[in-house]
């Protein structure tokens, strides 16, 4: 595309005439994501205190290999390299991490907070070169829909975990009960569901790709539901992120006998 040369003023990093607290939002995002990243990495490396009674921490679900009774295929696999520390979380965390990392909301948020590209709207940037998501490496963000497929699978696994969280083993066998942990795991599925089912890629795949949605009524209803959740995608993203961390902390503290899991019945 050819256009006449545009002569525009270069601006310095941080240059702005904005008077509001424009730095607050990127700072909160930076602190929030950094805190979550450090905590989740620490929790994943622990390989301990991730179950309590019928509860399984969402950081370790599904437990493909591991030492708890939630494990699908038994203990640590023989093929796992001896020099590499093992945790059941390492086998599965790549999927939710990839889903969030390539999420349209998080992309915009962390480009601002971690890469200052831009730090906030109309704030001068630190570097001149820019490739965006037009070429490598960020063109890889287009893989988001594939992580969505895994995220939908995980939603099924976590729903199953939440259901199992109502079945307590005691002297007389397995009985139905409701503990604080049961409700926390249900909350986790609720918030993750709100986030995953409001995904921009899902919105496209269920019907957004069509120009005449009226010709596919089921798609249209699904598209409307996803669009409804999508309008508050940022809220769901943060609520689900906080709740998944909170769920792990709760299970961990109960398992370490710092907290008592209070049972309603």
């Amino acid at each position: 595309m050819t256009h006449p040369e545009l002569t525009l003023e270069e601006r310095r990093f941080g240059e702005t005439t904005r008077q509001d607290a424009w730095w607050l939002q990127p700072l909160v995002v930076f602190l929030g994501l950094t805190t979550f990243g450090i905590y989740s990495a620490w929790a994943a490396f622990q390989n301990a205190h991730y179950t309590f009674g019928p509860y399984l921490s969402p950081f370790y679900s599904p437990e493909l290999f591991g030492s708890s009774y939630h494990s699908w295929f038994g203990d640590k696999p023989g093929w796992w390299p001896l020099w590499l520390p093992f945790s059941p979380a390492f086998l599965i965390l790549w999927a939710p991490l990839g889903f969030r990392l390539t999420c349209y909301y998080y992309r915009g948020a962390y480009y601002k907070a971690f890469w200052a590209d831009p730090l906030s709207c109309t704030i001068g940037e630190p570097r001149k070169g820019y490739r965006g998501e037009h070429s490598f490496p960020l063109i890889i963000q287009n893989v988001h829909r594939y992580f969505l497929y895994f995220a939908l699978l995980f939603l099924i696994f976590l729903s199953h975990d939440a259901w199992k969280g109502f079945w307590f083993k005691d002297g007389s066998g397995t009985t139905f009960g409701v503990g604080i942990g049961s409700l926390i795991l249900v909350g986790n599925v609720f918030f993750l569901g709100g986030y995953t089912l409001g995904c921009h890629s899902l919105r496209h795949l269920v019907g957004g790709f069509l120009d005449r949605l009226s010709s596919a009524p089921v798609r249209q209803s699904t598209y409307n539901c996803v669009s409804c959740l999508n309008r508050r995608h940022m809220m769901w993203a943060w609520m689900s992120l906080c709740w998944v961390g909170f769920s792990d902390i709760y299970v961990r503290l109960c398992s370490m006998e710092i907290l008592t899991d209070w049972r309603f019945f």
Binding site: M1, T7, T17, G108, H134, H204, S214
Partner: protein, 248 residues
């Protein structure tokens, strides 16, 4: 009557700076009223573009306290009048004089976008039939008043000056209005990926925040177009599916 200080950008592309003006402010005034008052009383040669004073023509776009806004829709009582109010021209376009910029690049971009190409008429009288729910989605994009505030705030144009490789949010909205139209038969995805540079958008949502017509530019126009580009160019499963479908 209360007074306030207005720092207005004065000059041309070669030499410009903020000039302070003290001016009286009264209830109900908007920024454009203050600029007109200063123009009438203190700076007769102050250049400002304006027309409808009702937020519908998109002429009086500027940056008020660093935020891209329509001057006619920015009420003074929403601003901290105890501090000087800065009024600057849009930074993503070349300055002509004072608050007036050359936005002609935008109109050139528009001429390059494939025009609306409807399918053959549905009825013998040359008319078409559309469902209201299909047209509702693109109706949002038709609200655009071409104020170019979204272009101004977009850092790809404003800071990286990629005007040759990137058409900006306004024209992604225009593309979306055409591409998602239930009657349109044209395919604009290759242009969106290549010459229009949709990949440069990194979803900061600044364009959505400044839109005076509250068009959900990022979520309803840009991201759906990005997803359509993924469908056509980056999704191997979709490609396989298309090959399989074309053979059956």
């Amino acid at each position: 009557m209360a007074t306030a200080t207005f720092k207005i950008w004065r000059g041309d592309a070669n030499n410009a700076a903020f000039v302070d003006y003290e001016s009286e402010v009264s209830e109900g005034m908007v920024v454009l009223d203050a600029v007109h008052q200063i123009q009438a009383q203190q700076a007769n040669d102050l250049a400002v573009r304006w027309n409808c004073k009702a937020g519908k023509c998109g002429s009086c776009s500027a940056e008020v306290n660093g935020n891209p806004k329509l001057m006619c829709m920015t009420r003074l009582n929403e601003l901290p009048l105890d501090q000087p109010i800065s009024i600057e021209p849009m930074r993503a376009f070349p300055l002509i004089k004072d608050l007036v910029t050359d936005v002609s690049w935008n109109f050139e971009v528009k001429t390059k976008i494939k025009k609306f190409n409807p399918r053959p008429p549905d009825a013998e009288d040359g008319t078409w039939r559309m469902a209201q729910e299909d047209i509702d989605r693109v109706q949002e994009f038709r609200k655009c008043i071409e104020c170019f505030l979204c272009q101004d705030v977009c850092h790809v144009l404003r800071d990286h000056h990629l005007h040759k490789e990137f058409i900006g949010p306004r024209y992604f909205v225009h593309n979306a209005a055409l591409e998602m139209h239930p009657l349109d038969t044209e395919n604009r995805l290759e242009e969106l990926k290549e010459s229009d540079g949709i990949g440069y958008c990194n979803i900061t949502k600044c364009c959505t925040k400044v839109c005076p017509e509250h068009i959900t530019i990022t979520d309803n126009a840009i991201i759906p177009l990005k997803e359509r580009v993924v469908d056509q160019f980056y999704d191997p499963l979709r490609k396989l599916f298309r090959i399989f479908r074309s053979r059956t």
